[in-house]
């Protein structure tokens, strides 16, 4: 029997980016807020300190900052006809663990989704007609437009000190920035990071070919920056250890650097770590949640925390599974396409690229950050004519160095053995001279890709694991072929000594090698409760005091990293809660 605690105004389930921002905005509005976090707390000055933070084995290989699958993982299968098996180790994607969540170990890429990304279905219908969308591709519009979200994108960028260069300032296109981006009200908070030779070579060739290269927008501050919370971020040291790791320079934006110091000062806020929420208390008749039930993993005690507002701010999988464990909403069924929870699970097309070797160029691949990359957006989204191509969506094409950590980064030309004397010679010969062009492609929804609960495997609390049914489809393979042909064209024009074989997205999805932690969907946003879980304010259709943050609300996934809109939407939603919901609790949108 759970011990019932005193009611608070709001409770956050998960204290990563979205939980931290929402808790901050609600306490600022005078609410008492409890932040429940399953993992432990993190003190950057101790956990991310020199010299220990420069440890590839501990962070990149043994995944120090990543969720423990022994506690909770998910099961996976390619298609509904198969039995799923547990993901026994995280690989393809790496959810975070502890206070700060994935905001501790992310790379910092911070995008605004394109205006057409916010209106995916209606834009395609308008340009190509409704028949252009395959019957098994249930893509939807976002529930708010780019223009509506713009001020919140702006705010999140000013929280993070994002380094970059504007390509569209209030409608004025600017060469050197991303000319495809939506109009922005202000320039990036900090200038772009210095590029390596690799990014500059790529950009020069891309320009020669008529494309529009720009520096990758990234929350690796290029200079010290005081954010909208009055907190100061340091300058990125271009250490090359960034992703999967914390930042000793406080230059990589994250909840610990950008929000939590303010939140922790506020007496209205209480952080409870090692607090694992097992379910929400749901009153279906009243269309409300009464609070959450959690287990304190230090004592094994179970508590019920009543709350006026519940915010799901876990990772994508945590948000979806908590709805299913709590009986909120109807499970999506791919056979009938009825139900909404678990629908439109999407991922991203990664591990695509082509490696080049230049015998007379030194790239210093260990210098850099995730932001030391140049990008072209010319073949992304609907920035190019899809009329006769037979697929929808696109890819960003990127080039740069910044993660030359040698356990994992050891490129050698095709045909080189993977061990022995010849391997050693080739590794020593080419480590400094290899250059990779990478692609990250959008992944539009398919009716057979979805999330539900597994009938067999359980987590440490005894709850069924979430089950992922997912595979690539024809649209993905065609997208990969087409965008790769553009990358290869650039690579050939760069005239390398050796040009590698393109790595295309072919065959079944493989859950082992890292691809991206950009899982999306399962609690998607929309304008109709029949086809979405939350409305445009991320308020659940089935419980008006339940708000669901994060990428689980994306109707499909684009080529970009998801953190920009995820942060922006948290501000957008918090404003709706503070200005409208608190005054008149109830549905903010009437279906």
């Amino acid at each position: 029997m759970a011990t019932k605690l005193k009611e608070v105004d709001a409770v956050m389930v998960g204290m990563g980016w979205t939980g931290s921002i929402m808790a901050r905005e609600l306490t600022k509005a005078g609410l008492t807020v409890v932040g429940l976090e399953r993992g432990g707390d993190i003190k950057p000055s101790e956990h991310f300190a020199m010299p220990a933070v420069r440890d590839e084995l501990r962070f990149s290989r043994r995944l120090e900052l990543i969720q423990d699958p022994a506690m909770e993982t998910l099961t996976f299968r390619h298609r509904p006809s198969e039995s799923a098996l547990p993901m026994r180790r995280f690989g393809s994607f790496l959810p975070g663990d502890g206070v700060g969540g994935a905001g501790n170990h992310w790379g910092g890429h911070t995008w605004r989704y394109l205006p057409t990304d916010h209106a995916t279905r209606s834009h395609i219908v308008q340009r190509y007609g409704a028949k252009a969308i395959p019957a098994d591709m249930p893509i939807q519009d976002w529930a708010m437009s780019y223009d509506e979200l713009e001020p919140y994108y702006d705010k999140f960028e000013k929280l993070c000190g994002v380094a970059g260069k504007a390509g569209n300032l209030r409608g004025r296109k600017i060469d050197g920035g991303n000319v495809f981006e939506g109009p922005r009200q202000s320039e990036f908070p900090t200038p772009p990071l210095e590029q390596n030779l690799s990014g500059l070579m790529f950009a020069e060739t891309a320009r020669e070919l008529g494309y529009h290269p720009f520096p990758r927008p990234s929350s690796n501050c290029s200079r010290p920056y005081t954010n909208i919370e009055g907190l100061t971020l340091g300058a990125c040291q271009l250490c090359g250890y960034c992703d999967r790791n914390g930042c000793e320079a406080n230059a990589k934006a994250g909840p610990h650097v950008c929000v939590l110091p303010r939140l922790r000062e506020d007496a209205r806020f209480e952080m409870r770590t090692r607090s694992w929420v097992s379910r929400l208390v749901y009153d279906k008749a009243a269309k409300k949640v009464a609070g959450v039930v959690y287990t304190d993993t230090r004592s094994g005690e179970e508590y019920e925390q009543p709350a006026g507002i519940v915010v799901l701010s876990a990772y994508v999988f945590g948000n979806v599974s908590l709805l299913l464990h709590s009986g909120i909403g109807e499970q999506y069924d791919p056979a009938t396409q009825r139900g909404t929870v678990g629908k439109n699970y999407c991922y991203q097309l990664s591990r695509m690229g082509v490696t080049m070797f230049f015998e007379d160029r030194n790239f210093n691949p260990f210098m850099g950050a995730p932001g030391t990359q140049m990008v072209i957006d010319d073949f992304d989204a609907d920035n190019f004519d899809h009329g006769s191509l037979g697929f929808l969506g696109g890819a960003i094409i990127t080039c740069g160095h910044g993660d030359g950590r040698p356990i994992s980064y050891r490129p050698t030309p095709a045909g080189t053995p993977r061990w022995g004397s010849a391997w050693k010679k080739a590794t020593a010969r080419w480590y400094q001279h290899a250059l990779n062009i990478s692609l990250s492609g959008s992944n539009y929804a398919n009716r057979h890709n979805y999330l539900d609960l597994d009938p067999t495997y359980k987590d440490q609390l005894g709850r069924p694991l979430l089950r992922m049914t997912y595979n690539f489809v024809d649209n993905d393979y065609k997208l990969s072929e087409y965008c790769m042909s553009k990358a290869v064209q650039i690579a050939k024009t760069m005239k390398p000594t050796i040009l590698g074989e393109p790595r295309l997205r072919r065959g079944d999805y493989d859950i082992v090698p890292y691809q991206s932690t950009h899982n999306t969907g399962g609690t998607i946003q929309g304008t109709d409760p029949k086809s979405s879980v939350v409305n445009r304010y991320l308020q659940a259709w089935d419980a008006h005091n339940l708000f669901i943050m994060g990428a689980s609300t994306f109707p499909q996934q684009v080529a970009y990293n998801p953190t920009g809109p995820l942060g922006a939407m948290t501000y957008w939603s918090s404003e709706a809660i503070v200005n409208r919901y608190l005054r008149s609790p109830g549905p903010l949108v009437h279906a």
Partner: protein
């Protein structure tokens, strides 16, 4: 392979010294002579291991020296500390199956589903070594570590290509795990026991720490940044 005859002779000499010292349990020797401590041999192996048996240490040593042979670029894998690294890793929480979901049922699956065994890394390698040695005894007459260097290479290639039919365990899966842990040992920070004197970092030109490049990235753009690498211990 043709230009390293001198290092090869040294390597063979060291390997045979190890056999004579009882470090490498070639079957006939092990039956006639009890295992003796390794002290006083030419090897830089520690005298004792945390979790490896002498047979397992000999196996890993032979694998590490085949994958990372001594040549002008670096000493052998064993001399770089790779076996020490493996011993410590298998004794660590990771070796004991930390951060791994170990609930049943267990089922054989295609590689795209990832690791699907109940075995911890330490258990997996123990079982793999037994199976690999049984296979080399059957096909080549000796335990893996007692094979001549070229035979070890041939055996590893057979495992890598999936040609080796091991009993009860996938030879290919074992090979991939061995390659992973040997490369981790070679390239990880030296504080874990491998990459002795930062030889692997010197081999490729990785500077290690402190990795503060904000003021160097432009200065060294396109130029080799040639420094003596530093490790965590150098800043501790």
């Amino acid at each position: 392979m043709a230009d390293d005859s001198l290092p090869r002779r040294r390597f063979l000499l060291r390997a045979s010294t190890a056999v004579a010292a009882g470090l490498t349990p070639a079957v006939p020797l092990a039956q006639t002579k009890p295992a003796a401590p390794a002290s006083g041999t030419a090897s830089s192996e520690p005298e004792s291991f945390l979790v490896l048996t002498s047979g397992e240490a000999a196996f890993f040593s032979a694998v590490a020296d085949s994958m990372i042979p001594a040549d002008e670029l670096s000493p052998s894998g064993t001399d770089c500390g790779v076996v020490t690294f493996i011993d410590r890793q298998l004794a660590s929480a990771w070796g004991g199956g930390a951060k791994m979901y170990r609930g049943g049922p267990f089922r054989k699956a295609r590689p795209e589903y990832g690791y699907q065994l109940s075995l911890t890394p330490k258990e997996f390698f123990s079982a793999g070594i037994v199976a690999a040695n049984a296979w080399t005894r059957k096909t080549m007459g000796k335990d893996f570590d007692a094979l001549a260097p070229q035979d070890r290479i041939n055996a590893l290639k057979a495992l890598e290509d999936g040609r080796a039919q091991l009993t009860g365990i996938s030879g290919k899966q074992l090979f991939e795990a061995l390659l992973d842990i040997v490369m981790e040992g070679f390239f990880a920070d030296p504080m874990y026991g491998g990459n002795k004197d930062k030889v692997a970092w010197k081999m490729v030109g990785f500077p290690g720490l402190p990795a503060l490049y904000k003021n160097l990235i432009v200065q060294f753009r396109g130029k080799k940044y040639d420094v003596d690498p530093k490790s965590i211990a150098d800043f501790s």
